[in-house]
Amino acid sequence: MLIKTPKSSDLKESEVTPENVYLNRRDLLKGLGFLGAGALLANSASANAIDWFSKEEKVKFKTTPLKYQADANSNNLILTPENKVTTHNNFYEFGAQKQQPAELSQSFKVNPWQLTISGECDNPITLDYDDLTTMFALEERIYRLRCVEAWSMNIPWIGFSLADLLKKVVPNSSAKYVFFETLHDPIQMPGQANRRLGGGIAYPYVEGLRIDEAMNPLTLLSVGLYGKTLPPQNGAPIRLVVPWKYGFKSIKSIVSIKLVSEQPQTTWHKLAANEYGFYANVNPKHDHPRWSQSSERHITSGGLFARNRIKTLPFNGYGEQVAHLYKGMDLRKYY
């Protein structure tokens, strides 16, 4: 697991914004009662302003506490505060702006749920909602999530190894890749019904891993974070977490896992193959056309003045566990 020694410059728990102040930030905005220059015309930045007129969230998704084995390293880590983990999400199914998924997903239904594991295997199965949290012993894994947009968070996930699940279905010799699919439900996921809200990507969202990447013990199927089941904006009821790859590989709200023989198409690669590769391993030496990947802003607590730019590590710091998977491969070509 990731070990991080706190620096003297790191912020302490006591500096975290009290939750009630954070939750009331909209009232603060409202109290001021005006629109910004950024809201003079319809545009992405003005959506916040428009929100001020809509009703406050009526429903909040209910998460439930989970039983799990705590991560042994948890004391050494500065975690990203829970309210940041759950309000800063790239989940275009619920809106392409960071704060939208938390706002537009609260009535999402996760029970009943069906997750099918099929394809090149001897023993295909379908899991129901309850199976997701009861089939395997759950453990906490604190991973750094590195987004391709050059920011990162430390998140205490709860889940089980994908390998454990794959062993259950017994992959056959043709199973070379694993293909994942997110739920397609435009009624519940407004981004799938509206191009502007959904950021213009193709739905359903699909992702893939090579079988050895999928079987690596680091690769996690997560059903919770911060001790509770996942909220919808983080990919409820079950999502992938591949900590050495950019965040877009970690597909959310999965309904299908399929063992396949050919390298599958993946959502962002289809949209812009020169920007997003199939492998998408965190690599400070290979820049994204839009961003330098040599460093990142590590989001913890702290406002605009937080000095949080840190060096990006090869494989996001997990090289010891995964670098051998890519021996002999030109990682600049297979980005």
């Binding site: 220059a37 950024g38 809201a39 983990v85 704060q99 990507i201 949080n308 730019r309």
Partner: protein, 209 residues
């Protein structure tokens, strides 16, 4: 019957409104951002807000003269400089946010990004031009510059095209908003079709000579 409001009063009122609408949101934005009340990543929010705000103000500035002409409201031209200066201020904060809060004064990375990323290159070029217009908006300089002042300020048409392209190239996937802005830009430039044609014409004839 109704009392006529003097032109000076109208201009003053308009200026007060512009100050309120342009300055207060900026004040509000930074108050929230400094206190970590602006979502999980205030850096992204302040960059986007000031960027789109600068573009909006630039477009409003370019709307003034067509409206003044069409509705014969000449006094409107007297608030154009203020709007332009606010557009510059927003653009300045946009660049400063990127340098100070996103890159956290990693100067080498800053210059590297300007050279390497086409959308930042043209954004920076637009900013330098806007800064030149802002500086030369001083009355004393304007008088000194004579005819070349107008030549310089005609660059506002190039600036708005650069900014529209900067926005279009900067987004990851959703292209509807940047295309909408491009359309607005073209409409505003369309009002100046003859002038721009003449400007381009003189540019080419100079080259030929």
């Amino acid at each position: 019957m109704n009392k006529k409001i003097s032109t000076a009063k109208k201009v003053l009122m308009l200026k007060v409104v512009i100050h309120l609408v342009a300055f207060l949101p900026l004040f509000n934005l930074y108050y929230l951002a400094f206190n970590d009340l602006l979502g999980a990543d205030p850096v992204e929010r302040v960059i986007h807000f000031t960027g789109i705000g600068a573009f909006n103000l630039l477009l409003v500035t370019l709307t003034i003269s067509p409206i003044a002409k069409k509705f014969k409201q000449g006094y409107l031209l007297q608030v154009r400089r203020l709007l332009g200066l606010y557009a510059f201020s927003y653009a300045f904060m946009h660049v400063l946010n990127f340098l100070a809060f996103d890159l956290q004064f990693a100067w080498w990375l800053f210059f590297n990004e300007i050279v390497k990323r086409p959308y930042i290159t043209i954004g920076m070029l637009a900013f330098v031009l806007v800064a030149a217009l802002a500086i030369t908006s001083l009355n004393s300089l304007k008088r000194k510059m004579g005819k070349s002042w107008q030549n310089l300020h005609n660059f506002s048409y190039l600036i708005v095209v650069l900014v529209a392209t900067h926005f279009y190239w900067s987004v990851k996937s959703e292209l509807i908003s940047p295309l909408f802005y491009f359309l607005l830009t073209m409409v505003l430039l369309g009002f100046r079709y003859k002038k721009i044609k003449a400007l381009l014409g003189s540019l080419f004839s100079k080259k030929l000579n």
